[in-house]
């Protein structure tokens, strides 16, 4: 009777495994979800943010030390933001992502030049950039042609700001 005892044990085991699924007893299913879509960089970042810390560590452990330190630092800054700050930054990033890749690179290069300016000049340029961003294209053009703009900023600063402004939607 070994075979029948073994069969009975298998059946009981199968029965016990069905217990967790009892929570899901359901009428016939609707169609399943669509095929999985690509995760955008923001989605991936959000997943990293919402991961349990131990799982985030597992992701970071795969990276070389220098790269890990940089990503970890920026990630922590992102995690430490308020919900409103994150939402605002994501919105700006989505706008930036709409730019063609070559224009995104131009923007990054211009930002690099911006960061090479002395801190006090960076401050003035930042204010001006934020002002330009709020304007319509026509208002921006007017501002870039204005006497005040030419008076406040040196030629290389005007070039950085002017080209950044042209990239804005």
């Amino acid at each position: 009777m070994n075979a029948s005892r073994f069969a009975a044990a298998l059946v009981l085991a199968a029965g016990s495994l069905s217990v967790p699924a009892m929570a899901q007893q359901e009428p016939p299913p609707p169609p399943g979800p669509a095929a999985q879509r690509e995760w955008s960089p923001i989605d991936q970042l959000e997943r990293l943010r919402l991961m349990p810390p131990w799982q985030r560590e597992r992701f970071l452990d795969r990276l070389p030390p220098q790269r890990r330190a940089k990503i970890e630092r920026h990630l922590q800054d992102y995690i430490n933001m308020t919900d409103e700050q994150r939402a605002r930054l994501r919105e700006q990033y989505e706008i930036f992502r709409q730019l063609p890749p070559e224009k995104q690179q131009v923007f990054r290069n211009l930002f690099g030049r911006f960061m090479n300016q002395p801190p006090q000049r960076q401050e003035l340029m930042r204010e001006e950039f934020q002002r330009l961003r709020q304007m319509s294209p026509a208002e921006r053009e007017k501002r870039l042609d204005s006497y005040e703009f030419h008076y406040r900023f040196q030629p290389n600063e005007r070039e950085i700001l002017g080209r950044l402004a042209m990239l804005l939607p």
């Binding site: 199968a14 960089p41 990503i71 930002f111």
Partner: protein, 165 residues
Amino acid sequence: MHCPTTTGNEAEVLVAYTSGTMTPAEQEAFELHMAGCAGCRQLAAAQKTVWSALDAWTLPPVSDEFDRSLHARIAEEARLPWWKRQWGGFSFSWKPAIPVAVACAALAGAFLLHVPAIDNAPATLPAVQTQKIDADQVERALDDMDMLNQLDAPAPAPARTPEGS
């Protein structure tokens, strides 16, 4: 519109009206009816009071500790031996187990009549795989967001000069 109290569906009409799930046409018809029906007006007013009272019962967001405790429980669960994970920690009624036991007995009987060739390899759960996050994409996104954040940062507070200087 017939008075809902005479058609027997006053409850459904009242709830639909106060919860705002009526169509505009239905709402208009019911309000027109209420203008001439004191009973329905009274019921609607009482239901609106209940709805507003329930609206007032607001709760704060869940504490940050919730997720940490949950993850600790999940981790603890993962450390249990498989037989304890299967049987322990569940509190469920015995009622659904009775038809399962009957089905098991019926299957056991079928097996006793005919024993098929059985693969002795134990069932294994699929290996847990973490969805791969693209480090390059994440790094680029973080760099770009840092760049945008720096261009967006507010001006720092001016340095305070010492008094008397």
